[in-house]
């Protein structure tokens, strides 16, 4: 059976779609920020965060970085990565910054969604990819069911 849609329904659904698209656009504007900080000379690395249940595994792509130049700081709800580049990266014809720009390191401060045990953190650096394994704090208590 073909049902005719009322004009008011059509307007309503179109408005909903427009509203949804606008929300997405606003969200993108809110989330967007450059992956560099010219005044500090830092670049933001690409990072992936995986929750495996009992652990949070964070991998980071760090080109131009040697293992000994990676500085990691961890506390119960954040991980800070500071990695000095082997050579400074210069952008000479870049108009987004007023002067010649030079980047010296990668920097990222990652806020964790759950509390972890800093002392149990493991990190390894393989072929330019840093992998940090953070063990979640077990805050749950087993309850006996009567």
């Amino acid at each position: 059976m073909i049902r005719k849609r009322r004009l008011s329904d059509l307007i309503e659904s179109s408005l909903e779609e427009i509203e949804k698209e606008m929300e997405q656009a606003i969200q993108e504007i809110r989330e967007w920020r450059p992956m560099w900080n010219a005044s500090k000379g830092t670049l933001e690395p690409l990072t992936q965060i995986e929750d495996t249940g009992d652990k949070i595994i964070i991998t980071t792509d760090l080109p131009y970085v040697k293992k000994e130049n990676i500085d990691l700081k961890v506390c119960d709800n954040s991980l800070e990565i500071d990695a000095t580049l082997e050579q400074c990266v210069k952008y000479e014809d870049w108009v987004n910054v007023s002067e010649e720009c030079e980047f010296k390191s990668f920097y990222k401060d990652i806020k964790l969604s759950e509390k972890i045990i800093p002392e149990e953190t493991n990190a390894k650096f393989t072929n330019g990819i840093l992998t940090v394994e953070l063990v979640k704090r077990k805050g749950k208590r087993r309850i006996k069911v009567d």
């Binding site: 992956m35 670049l43 933001e44 690395p45 690409l46 992936q48 792509d61 080109p63 131009y64 990266v89 393989t126 072929n127 330019g128 990819i129 992998t131």
Partner: protein, 249 residues
């Protein structure tokens, strides 16, 4: 030529095309990095571009010259198509359709799309394996000669899947090369592995040493494009490629 919102502008007209390579921003930017390196190495000249309202409102500026983001390079023997901006899912169907219609009109003999195959332990792999999917009936023979492994089970999502579907519908010979790659990090090593296979498949000799020596610079300078591509891939449920295939027929 114009199809459903897409038009192909030939700045240098070519009557026919023997072989065509396509590398779009996708998993690990593998295809895009590989095809860009081939364009540079073989000094393929720009011969045209794609125009559409469905493409992002972007102009790329290189050495002071404004350029369209989706461009065509090459000559009658070998054409290469690449994009410098990620494509959204709305533009992909009409783009694949117009691309294949145009290539069909040019009597294309072989179309090769290049991409990455997301591999979990990629950072521990020194020599990425290149897998292949093809519409050709003699694919196993072709792959064996070029050291390519036949992809037996899995999913393909994104531009390569649509191009393959269009080739199946038009009965065109399409090979999809998928090099083991990082999922969300730019992967010049995977691009180099794909080029090794292309050298054997097409009997060309593209040197990958320069690409490998620039690997760190490419990884650093394509971070933002990778980030944007990752967002666009999320929109087309690219993660389905990581799912275990159902064990039916």
């Amino acid at each position: 030529m114009s199809t459903k919102g897409f038009s192909i502008v030939e700045e240098t007209s070519i009557p026919s095309i023997k072989q065509c390579l396509i590398g779009m921003p996708d998993t690990g930017l593998t295809g895009m990095i590989a095809i860009s390196h081939i364009i540079q190495s073989l000094d393929l000249k720009e011969i045209g571009h794609f125009e559409s309202e469905l493409l992002p409102p972007v102009i790329v500026i290189h050495k002071g010259e404004p350029k369209r983001p989706v461009r065509i390079f090459g000559n009658e023997n070998l054409v290469a198509i690449t994009s410098e901006t990620p494509l959204n899912s709305a533009s992909m169907y009409p783009l694949a359709e117009s691309m294949i219609k145009w290539l069909n009109e040019k009597k294309i003999e072989l179309l090769i799309t290049v991409s990455g195959l997301a591999t979990q332990n990629r950072m521990e792999i020194q020599n990425p394996v290149v897998y292949g999917v093809s519409t050709s009936i003699d694919k196993e023979q072709i792959f064996n000669k070029a050291g390519i492994r036949l992809l037996k089970e899995g999913f393909m999502v994104g531009p390569n899947a649509l191009i393959l579907k269009e080739c199946m519908a038009k009965n065109l010979k399409n090979i999809v090369l998928l090099a083991q790659s990082h999922y969300q990090y730019p992967d010049p090593g995977a691009a180099a592995a794909a080029i090794y296979s292309l050298n054997k498949l097409l009997d060309i000799s593209v040197d990958v040493q320069k690409l490998l020596s620039q690997a760190e610079e490419i990884r650093l300078k394509t971070r933002e494009l990778m980030q944007r591509t990752n967002k666009s891939l999320q929109g087309m449920e690219k993660s389905q490629e990581l799912e275990l295939p159902a064990m039916y027929g």
